[in-house]
Symmetry: C2
Subunit: 338 residues, 2 copies
Amino acid sequence: MNAPVEENLKPVKCVGMETVVIAPDLTIEHVLQARERINPYIHNTPILTSTYLNEQIGAELFFKCENFQKAGAFKVRGACNSVFGLTDEDTVYGVATHSSGNHALSLSYAAGRRGIPCHVVMPKTAPQAKKDAVLGYGGLITECEPSTSSREAVFAEIQEKTGAEFVHPYNDPRVIAGQATCSAEMLESVEGLDTIVAPIGGGGMISGTCLTVSNQAPQIEVFAAEPLQADDAARSFRSGRIIADDAPVTIADGLKVPLKENTWHFVSHYVADVLTATEEEIIDAMRLTWQRLKIVMEPSCAVPLAVILKNQDVFRGRRIGVVVTGGNVDLDRLPWMK
Amino acid sequence: MNAPVEENLKPVKCVGMETVVIAPDLTIEHVLQARERINPYIHNTPILTSTYLNEQIGAELFFKCENFQKAGAFKVRGACNSVFGLTDEDTVYGVATHSSGNHALSLSYAAGRRGIPCHVVMPKTAPQAKKDAVLGYGGLITECEPSTSSREAVFAEIQEKTGAEFVHPYNDPRVIAGQATCSAEMLESVEGLDTIVAPIGGGGMISGTCLTVSNQAPQIEVFAAEPLQADDAARSFRSGRIIADDAPVTIADGLKVPLKENTWHFVSHYVADVLTATEEEIIDAMRLTWQRLKIVMEPSCAVPLAVILKNQDVFRGRRIGVVVTGGNVDLDRLPWMK
């Protein structure tokens, strides 16, 4: 689909990629730079397959296991690209962000590796496992209410107080270029992919995927998978403009945030479709993955498999890369335990 | 330690390794044959590491993830080596076994791939996930009481009725040679290992590990890890003869069976020590692995990490291969859920 020209894109400070200020200026060169920059701090994660799931669906699925990633999620890619792209001068007051969890702990990890402070605003309702991990990496947490408006208000205070460099969890070209390294690895590991399915919250992973794929393998269709109960990206996609919900409720706690200008650019230009799944479908797919792939992953990661199972007519016969975005789940509160 | 000569070793029918009838006759050639034979039916499983765990313990741990193996456990190696080593004539009545779970479903998988029937005797108390998996692979289940004596009695009936070829879960040189392929892969994947720790139940994995290591890397020390509540191998090791308990109770349901002559040969000649862990230590190590490695694994697989955490003086500074034996766990009955 063709989207209207983004009128609201504002320049973002992008040290280390001086010519880039907005998403449309990102090129494959920025992805290659990001790979080199973050390589010492991340894993090239393994890809797992399941004969059982392939037979059930009639397709070939390749699960890119970012749950095995450093800090437990793909977000460490964008966080490292941002933190290690800063000049020494820019790091004096540390970095700061707001995040439902994985970006918070990824930025804490990256800042810790660079030896600078990291301030994070997290919703009170974030899983305890994620809060503990942030603290474990030395991050400094300030809590907010579980809504976008509260999160942004509390963050503004923190940033003013500390003067820290803001690294947005997804609406930042440095972060998008970092996330793009994940699909770059997939293209090297799996030959002949024709489809990639990834979860969509704010759109950082999907945007990075589109950035890589549109440059390196434009024949691949990119599908975004979203909880029906937080379907702002699906509604945005269909209406041709960003629709933001303030506080959606879904078990997929990583996918509650709305699109922003930089990610909307990629969603509107490159995504084949945004498909949704109910809470029950997400839980069933999560359980199925634990059972069959033997991996611990977050509810958010189950949304791609849920939409594939639900739309088998779309996906049958395809060779599909599935991004398993993270594994930071609260083991005491698994969603199938009553 | 030196053990008494095994006087009770009886010849086992070993088609495909005609000259081998008892464990001491096994050579590295049988391991190489097994690798070639089973290669089309198994995965060379990945090895995962955790910086966090390494720092906690002061050692380097390399987790060989047999929970990602076909049929969800290392036992598929021995099962495939046995089933695909049979002549067509020997397969007429199918194969049969008794097993607490993973050997049952591994043999069902192997038999299914060869297109022959598989009869399995399983304890009533085996996890439902394992029973379902056996049925899913086409295995035919007969239930017994959860004791070694009941299991063997019921099995004798089944074998007489069907005439199927018996593939013992561990006391069979074909099976031991198959399990030995796991450490052969580890030696290729990780340089400079000085230690391997694996769980011990009947001793099939430990025996296979000793077979490979004593031939290919004799400098490596092999430690067996056992639940304190099923510590027959530890007591056997210390007393120099097989001690068998009839029905031990432990959460590590794969490790309840006693040593037999063929595995005793390896345990008594090659194992450095048999270390034990309490139920609580096993559960803590299991939870820690799920949290940090993001993998779904059985309680049995947590015993090695539990003994490493408990004996840090023994393991500090070492480069340790840890065998994660399987991932067939009942997700509705996780041991840390009250």
